[in-house]
């Protein structure tokens, strides 16, 4: 149930068996079916979710009701609205399951308890937040400086597994493009090859 979570944890910060058992006491296993929401806009995000199995997405709706996808989260990834989680302010995002999911949730009180009880959890959290910050910076740089063709090529190279599991319109939404524009890009790239 916690295999992948602890494999990922141990890659970043090796744990003893005792520490692993102690951390397990604070984890919430949760199954989510395809199309169910883990979080809806205007609710306070009370957890960080680690994906043991399945695929989720975080998105917002613009004024015209169009979905703007911020993140996909396949196995081994973490997903949450960190801003809402840390400030207890209502979230601006939805998180839903694109496939049947098995998740490990860490709620706010468990997070606080783990931070104070397990120093290695604090290190793990710091590394996770640093990683998330770097990923966000990369994404912003890519939006500002790369062409749509380069962004698509980069997405396909970095996340081939996600590209195979989600429909094209969601990839377009993630990249901030219209589906028709993405189709043109794909045609162009395939013609060039």
């Amino acid at each position: 149930m916690y295999d992948l979570f602890f494999r990922q944890f141990n890659k970043k910060v090796p744990l003893t068996m005792e520490e692993q058992l102690e951390i397990t006491k604070f984890l919430t296993p949760k199954k989510l079916r395809k199309r169910q929401y883990l979080l809806q806009e205007a609710d306070v995000c009370k957890f960080v979710a680690f994906v043991e199995k399945g695929l989720l997405r975080q998105f917002t709706l613009d004024n015209n009701g169009n979905e703007r996808i911020l993140q996909f989260a396949p196995e081994g990834w973490t997903i949450s609205d960190l801003y809402s989680f840390l400030t207890a302010e209502p979230s601006s995002y939805h998180i839903d399951a694109l496939e049947d999911c098995e998740l490990i949730l860490i709620n706010k009180s468990a997070h606080e308890a783990l931070l104070s009880k397990i120093p290695k959890y604090e290190t793990y959290t710091r590394l996770q937040i640093t990683g998330a910050y770097i990923a966000m910076q990369r994404r912003l740089s890519s939006i500002f400086s790369a062409t749509p063709d380069e962004r698509y090529a980069s997405f396909m190279q970095l996340y081939p597994d996600i590209a195979n599991r989600v429909p094209q319109h969601m990839i377009a939404s993630y990249m901030g493009l219209q589906p028709k524009t993405l189709s043109r890009i794909r045609r162009r790239i395939s013609n060039n090859h």
Binding site: M1, F26, P29, K31, L105, S109
Partner: protein, 172 residues
Amino acid sequence: MITKQTIAVIGAPNQTSDLLCKALAKGNYRLLMAQGKQHKVRELFNEIRVETPGADMESIDCCQQACWEADIILFAVPCMEQTEIVYKIKEVANQKIVLCIPSSIDQYMDGSKMNAAQLLQGHLPNSKVVNACYAQSGSNILLDSGAPDALQTVQDLIRAIGFFPLDKQTGF
């Protein structure tokens, strides 16, 4: 709460769990009713289906699967039968709120509605057990728990479905 919460209903229905399930079925909740050996769960399921045709509700054979999906577990299992069920759900109930509804048998035998919840908390040390029972008057539900955050969540839920939560210790 805008995000729909999933509630697993485990065990034999009694007056309090019947009232809560029927009210939950009318709200923004998804009920997973674990069948087990309890034909009364089937009867309650059918009653709710008639009373609230639009209820988001599902009958599920395995109580472990129901609790794995659940955000909150409504546990109405008599003390004498707790051990077997708890063994099945312990791992997936970790850190979850377990709303313990003592059966009338437990109340009669023990003279206290707290005992079933205390016993359950002992069985599920990493879950947040909240004791709940109908106050037999008006719409009051008496609540008690050693987990303040869980108690707050359940108080909000009880209010949201049209009941009045009362602190069992203070009566307010």
